[in-house]
Amino acid sequence: MLTSVLFYVFAFILVFSAISVVTAKNPVHAVLFLVLAFVTSSCLWLMLNVEFLALILIVVYVGAVMVLFLFVVMMLDIDVETMRKGFWKNLPLAIMLGIIVLVEMLVVLINKPMVINNIPDLANSSISNANQLGWVLYTQYSYPVELASLILLLGLVAAVALTLRKSEKNAKYQNISKQVAAKASERFEMLNMPSEREIIEEDPQEGDKK
């Protein structure tokens, strides 16, 4: 009873936020709605007792990917008016693409092989699902995992290569190894200053005379 109420609440929030991502006028608000969508879908996963996947979704997507998204969107100076200019012109194309995606998803969802029949009873299993996932990923699917990690590594190297600034001849940048190699002794010198000589006390009577 309670679970189905919770499910509908989460599902409603998820659908609402997903629609708002598209309809929000301010791009920052759109990103925030996307974050809400991720968090609610993670809540739905939690209701299926897959706490590992649910929490990893938050750590990876909400905690890292969406922050970078938000970062980029904030930096861009987006003028909403110019973005809306071609709305009516592009609408037919957009509707067509939307219908194609919808049909594809329906085909996948209705298709019998995609329906999972024997869902394991996760709530009552003695092994945590982080453990179970680990077993499957690193034994049965170890080659695909290795392959996926290689592809990710490739993406990483490519991203680093894009930021290499050696190609720009006139670019000015700090030579970090030179900076790190700098020693304190090159930057300042400790001088030994002899302290001031003691002030010779004047004769107080002499002062009085003045």
């Binding site: 309670l2 301010n26 920052v28 608000h29 925030l32 974050v35 706490e51 590992f52 929490l55 990893i56 938050i58 750590v59 909400v62 905690g63 890292a64 922050v67 970078l68 938000l70 970062f71 904030m74 930096m75 945590s128 982080a130 700090q174 970090i176």
Partner: protein, 348 residues
């Protein structure tokens, strides 16, 4: 809990019981945080060879409440072109995330709000949400200073989250569980039977150091506080905030400090375990008091570093995070893996 359930029925009784527990966690925590701010002012004072706050109440002990009252009575200023909804929302997000994390924090084997078997992941997930409060605060104020502060904070927190995550991976490897209670229990046997020598901090020493330093960077404390670097960008992401909204930022910052200290003591310093062997009677018995002592020691460290180290330059912070900490943790994870499959394995 049983009596409550008798009076209010099964579901409602459980709910009310959890509510009471939540209040019992949050209120002492808030008071503790208030006194951490007081301790910071006092300790910094003594380190600067001055007295520190000593006017309100005996020895200045009521100072945090005076601070709070002052925050409450200040005017709430809202910049003209600020995005008002998000402007109000940002500090609340930060504080909610800082408090939510405590739901899975075990204070002793019995004192725990909820027992989650992926506790460490929950902590990582919820604390990674806190960065939204900072980014949005930086953006919503419609000020260049606060925006720069927000950008700096985001880049820094994401970078150090990685190093921190890798440090935690080492702990998870040796304890073989994501449950914080089990992680502490795993440290209760080994050299000298659960004393200081059998805790994780010795075999995982590099990870412990990385975790502590990344923890300081995560909470944006000195010497990593460039995101509020007052000499460059006034006060960073909370320039535009005043009154109670500002108080929420401070509260969240100190809560996060306490959180990092508590996590470090649970994962590396044996949590509620006593540093002495169990055969020593009173001082050898474990309990909440030991966790409290460890958290206070680590918090003292936080304040001490603030008084000691000058602020890092931003590129140095990034270098430290990406080029020093992440390689160190990765290498140590490999070493740990080799250690665990070798006959010298000490975590059986």
């Amino acid at each position: 809990m049983e009596t409550l359930q008798q009076f209010l029925g099964n579901g409602l009784g459980y709910f009310v019981w959890k509510l009471i527990m939540a209040v019992a966690v949050v209120i002492p925590l808030t008071i503790f945080v208030a006194y951490v701010t007081f301790a910071e002012r006092k300790i910094l004072g003594y380190m600067h060879a001055r007295l520190g706050a000593n006017r309100v109440g005996p020895k200045g002990l009521l100072q945090p409440f005076a601070d709070l009252l002052k925050f409450v009575f200040k005017e709430l200023v809202m910049p003209t072109k600020a995005s008002s909804g998000i402007f109000n929302f940002a500090p609340v997000v930060l504080l909610i995330c800082a408090i939510l994390v405590w739901a899975v924090m075990p204070f002793s084997p019995e004192m725990i709000f909820t027992h989650v078997n992926a506790g460490v992941l929950y902590v990582l997930a919820v604390s990674s949400l806190g960065v939204y409060g900072i980014v949005l605060a930086g953006w919503a104020g419609n000020s260049k200073y606060s925006f720069l502060g927000g950008v700096r904070a985001t880049a820094q927190m994401i970078s150090y989250e990685l190093a921190m995550g890798f440090a935690i991976v080492g702990v998870l490897m040796v304890s073989g569980t994501l449950d914080l209670t089990e992680i502490v229990k795993g440290q209760s046997h080994g050299m000298l039977g659960g004393s200081i020598l059998s805790w994780n901090w010795i075999p995982l020493f590099p990870l412990f150091l990385v975790y502590l330093i990344s923890g300081i960077a995560e909470t944006n404390r000195a010497p990593f506080d460039v995101c509020e670097g007052e000499s460059e960008i006034v006060a960073g992401f909370f320039v535009e905030y005043s009154g109670t909204r500002f108080a929420l930022f401070m509260l969240a910052e100190y809560l996060n400090m306490v959180l990092i200290s508590a996590l470090a003591s649970l994962m590396f310093l044996g949590g509620w375990l006593s540093p002495f062997p169990a055969s020593w009677g009173m001082v050898g018995s474990s309990g909440f008091a030991w966790l409290f002592v460890k958290v206070c020691l680590l918090l003292f460290g936080f304040i001490w570093y603030r008084a000691t180290f000058p602020r890092y330059r931003y590129d140095q912070i990034m270098r430290l995070g990406w080029k020093v900490f992440i390689p160190v943790t990765l290498v140590w994870i490999f070493v740990l893996g080799a250690w665990m499959v070798s006959p010298l394995n000490i975590w059986n």
